[in-house]
C-alpha cells in the first residue's frame, strides 16, 4: 500500500515537473528557396520567437507586421524570429510571393503537414512561442489582436531581464 502511494506521488512529481519544461525538438524544414534549414541554425543567441501562420489567416498578417518590427528592434539583444508557414498543399504556392510583398525580414520555413504545430498541440492561427537558447518553451500565445504586440514586447523584455 505504501509502495503504491510512493509510486503515485512519484508519477505526479514527474508529470508536474515535465509540464513546465516542454522542449522544442531541433526541427528542420525547407525554406522558400528549397533548402533545408534547422532550428539550431536559425535560433537566437538568447531567445527565439517562432510564429506559426498561414496565408489565408487574416490576423496572421497583422501579427507579421509587428513581428517584422520586433525582428529588427531586438536583433542586437540576441532575439531572432522564425516563421513557420503551415499553408499545406492547397495554398503553399502563394507563400513565397506573399512573403516578398509583406516584406518579411525573418526566415520562413514550410511545414506542409503542420507537424511541429501538432507536436506542440497548438490549435489556432497565428500561434507564437518563445523559446530560450536551449529550446525550452517559455511562453505560448495563441491568436493575435491589435494590442497583443504590447503584450509580446513586455514578455520579451521580461524574459531578457531574467
Amino acid at each position: 500500500m505504501r509502495i503504491r502511494k510512493v509510486f503515485f506521488i512519484t508519477f505526479l512529481l514527474l508529470i508536474a515537473h515535465g509540464l513546465y519544461a516542454q522542449q522544442i525538438s531541433n526541427f528542420s524544414y525547407k525554406d522558400l528557396n528549397n533548402s533545408y534549414q534547422s532550428f539550431e541554425e536559425l535560433k537566437g543567441e538568447k531567445l527565439t520567437l517562432i510564429d506559426f501562420w498561414a496565408s489565408w489567416c487574416k490576423p496572421c498578417k497583422k501579427a507579421i507586421k509587428e513581428l517584422n518590427k520586433i525582428s529588427v528592434d531586438y536583433q542586437e539583444k540576441g532575439v531572432k524570429v522564425i516563421g513557420i508557414n503551415c499553408d499545406g498543399p492547397r495554398s503553399v504556392a502563394k507563400v513565397k510571393p506573399l512573403t516578398k510583398v509583406l516584406k518579411i525580414k525573418y526566415p520562413i520555413l514550410l511545414d506542409l503537414d503542420s507537424e511541429l504545430m501538432k507536436e506542440l498541440n497548438l490549435s489556432a492561427f497565428p500561434s507564437l512561442i518563445i523559446v530560450n537558447d536551449t529550446g525550452k518553451i517559455l511562453w505560448i500565445h495563441e491568436g493575435f489582436q491589435s494590442g497583443d504586440e504590447v503584450v509580446i514586447k513586455n514578455k520579451i523584455d521580461k524574459l531578457l531581464s531574467l
Binding site: 512519484t10 515535465g18 510571393p97 498541440n121 490549435s123 489582436q145 491589435s146
Partner: protein, 490 residues
C-alpha cells in the same frame, strides 16, 4: 523487493528531472441545443479530447483519448483514438501508431488535422475531432539533399464517427516509398504507392515531381501522378487515371504572383485518401468561404491566378481568378474573380474591402456577386471595435437569392472578445414552406484566462453549410442553443 521499487523510483526521478517532459492538452465542448429543422427536442451533449505527450531526448510517445456523451446511447463512445511512438534524430524519423503524412502535394496521399474543428454528420450525429491520420509505421531518412521515406498503414475515412468499427473507418491499406534528391536549386522526387481494399484488384500508383528555382526569381513545382493499372505513365486520355499539378510563383518589387494549373482524371484514390490541390481560393470572409467550389478529382481541370500588390507598408491589393471545369456528360464551368483592398488607417485602424463575381453551375448559382467590408477601429492601444458586413446576390432558376451577414464586436487584445452575428437569407434551399426569409442571430464570447486556458461561449442560432479551414472543406450543421468550449494546456 521494496528496495527495488525505491531504486526504480529514484531512477525515474533522476531521468525525469534531467530530460523527460510530459505535456497535455484538453479540449472540452458542451452543447445544449438542437438542429433548428430537426424534430428532436433540445438536449445536452459533451465532447472531450485529451492528449498526453511524453518525450525523452530523441524519443516521443503520446495518446489521445476521445469521448462523446449525449442522451442517445448509440451516438456515445469513449475511445483511445490515437497512440504514437516516435524516434527522431537529425537523419532518421521513425514513427509507429497514428501519424500524419503527405506525399508530394497530396495527389497520391494526404493526411491532416484541422486545429480545433469538431465534426458532426447529419446521418450519425456523433461528434468527433476532424482529422485524417494513418495508423501504421513510417520511416524517413535524410542525408544532405537526399531523402527517403517509406510508410505502411491504414488512412482514416473521417466520414464515419468513432462509433463505427475500424474495418469501416480504415478500409484502405497503403504501402508507399518516396524519395527526393536536390541538385542545383532543383529537387526531383519519385514515389510509388500500393493500395489494397475491398476491390479485387491491388492498385499501384506512381508520381514524379520536380521543384525549384528558375532564373533565380521564379519558383515552380510540377507533379504528375498516375494509376499504373490504367495504362502507361503518359496515358493522359479519358480512360487514364492521372493527376497533374503545376505552380509558378514570383515577385517583382511590390508585385507578387502565383499561377497554378491542374488536371485530374479518375483520380479519387480508395475512399478518398488523396487530396489534390483544389486551386480554389480559401476565403476568410464567411459568405465567400461558404460559397466554395469543392474539387472533383474524378474529372476536373482549371487554373488559379493570384496577384498581390503592395501600395504602401500597410496597404495591399489582392486579385484572384479561379476557373474549374468539370465534364460529366454535361460541361460545368466554375469561375470566380475576387478583388480585395486591405489598408491600415492612421497607423492603428484596419479596413478591408472586397468584391467577388462568380458563377457556379453545380449549385445553379448565376451572376453571383459578393461584396463587403471588414474593419477594426481601435478605441485605445489595446481595445477596439470590429464591424463586418457582407452582401451576396445571385440568380437561381430565374429568381434572386440574397444572403447578408453583419457582425459587430469588441476585442481587448486577444484576452477578451465578444461578437454579435446576424445572418439573413431568402435562399429557397434553406427555407421551410411558410418562410420568405430566415434569420440567424448568435453571439460569441471568448476569454483567455491565461496563456494555458481559454473559454469560448456561443449562444443563439448558427448558420451551417460548407466551410473551408486549413485547405480542407467540410459540412457544418446548423445549430440553435448554447455551446461552451474550454481548452486547457498543461
Amino acid at each position: 523487493m521494496k528496495k527495488k521499487y525505491v531504486y526504480l523510483i529514484c531512477l525515474l526521478l533522476i531521468i525525469g528531472s534531467v530530460k523527460a517532459q510530459f505535456s497535455a492538452y484538453n479540449l472540452m465542448e458542451y452543447q445544449y441545443g438542437k438542429l433548428p429543422d430537426n424534430n428532436e427536442d433540445s438536449f445536452s451533449s459533451i465532447y472531450d479530447r485529451f492528449m498526453l505527450n511524453y518525450s525523452l531526448q530523441k524519443f516521443k510517445a503520446g495518446i489521445t483519448l476521445e469521448n462523446f456523451y449525449s442522451p442517445i446511447e448509440d451516438r456515445n463512445y469513449t475511445r483511445l483514438s490515437q497512440f504514437k511512438l516516435q524516434y527522431k534524430t537529425k537523419s532518421f524519423d521513425i514513427k509507429a501508431g497514428h501519424f500524419y503524412e503527405t506525399i508530394g502535394r497530396g495527389l497520391l496521399l494526404r493526411s491532416f488535422e484541422i486545429p480545433g474543428a469538431i465534426l458532426e454528420d447529419l446521418s450519425y450525429r456523433s461528434r468527433h475531432y476532424f482529422h485524417k491520420d494513418i495508423r501504421g509505421v513510417s520511416a524517413k531518412y535524410r542525408y544532405k539533399s537526399f531523402s527517403l521515406k517509406v510508410l505502411y498503414g491504414n488512412p482514416l475515412n473521417y466520414l464515419f464517427p468513432p462509433t463505427f468499427d475500424d474495418d469501416l473507418r480504415r478500409p484502405d491499406e497503403v504501402a508507399a516509398i518516396t524519395t527526393e534528391y536536390g541538385f542545383l536549386n532543383q529537387t526531383l522526387g519519385v514515389s510509388v504507392m500500393q493500395l489494397k481494399n475491398d476491390s479485387p484488384e491491388t492498385m499501384y500508383y506512381n508520381s514524379l515531381n520536380l521543384s525549384g528555382l528558375l532564373f533565380s526569381s521564379v519558383s515552380y513545382y510540377a507533379e504528375l501522378a498516375h494509376n499504373i493499372n490504367k495504362g502507361n505513365f503518359l496515358n493522359l486520355n479519358d480512360d487514364g487515371a492521372y493527376g497533374f499539378y503545376l505552380s509558378l510563383s514570383s515577385s517583382f518589387g511590390n508585385l507578387g504572383m502565383s499561377l497554378e494549373l491542374k488536371e485530374y482524371n479518375n483520380f479519387l484514390i480508395g475512399s478518398g485518401i488523396n487530396e489534390p490541390p483544389a486551386l480554389v481560393k480559401e476565403h476568410a470572409y464567411r459568405l465567400l468561404n461558404r460559397s466554395t467550389h469543392v474539387l472533383q478529382p474524378t474529372n476536373e481541370k482549371g487554373y488559379q491566378l493570384e496577384l498581390f500588390y503592395s501600395l504602401s507598408e500597410s496597404s495591399i491589393l489582392t486579385f484572384n481568378i479561379t476557373r474549374a471545369e468539370n465534364n460529366f456528360e454535361q460541361k460545368y464551368v466554375f469561375e470566380e474573380y475576387f478583388l480585395e483592398y486591405s489598408t491600415g488607417l492612421a497607423d492603428k485602424h484596419d479596413l478591408k474591402l472586397f468584391i467577388d463575381y462568380a458563377k457556379d453551375p453545380f449549385k445553379q448559382e448565376e451572376k453571383r456577386i459578393t461584396t463587403g467590408m471588414n474593419s477594426q477601429w481601435m478605441l485605445t492601444k489595446t481595445s477596439g471595435i470590429n464591424l463586418d458586413y457582407e452582401y451576396q446576390n445571385f440568380k437561381r432558376f430565374g429568381s434572386n437569392v440574397t444572403n447578408q451577414l453583419l457582425s459587430v464586436g469588441m476585442t481587448i487584445k486577444s484576452k477578451f472578445s465578444c461578437n454579435l452575428i446576424l445572418e439573413r437569407s431568402n435562399d429557397p434551399f434553406l427555407l421551410n414552406d411558410n418562410e420568405s426569409n430566415r434569420t440567424w442571430l448568435g453571439t460569441n464570447f471568448n476569454y483567455k484566462i491565461n496563456s494555458k486556458h481559454q473559454i469560448q461561449l456561443f449562444a443563439g442560432n448558427r448558420r451551417g453549410g460548407p466551410a473551408c479551414n486549413s485547405g480542407i472543406c467540410y459540412e457544418v450543421l446548423d445549430f440553435k442553443g448554447v455551446e461552451l468550449r474550454i481548452s486547457s494546456r498543461f
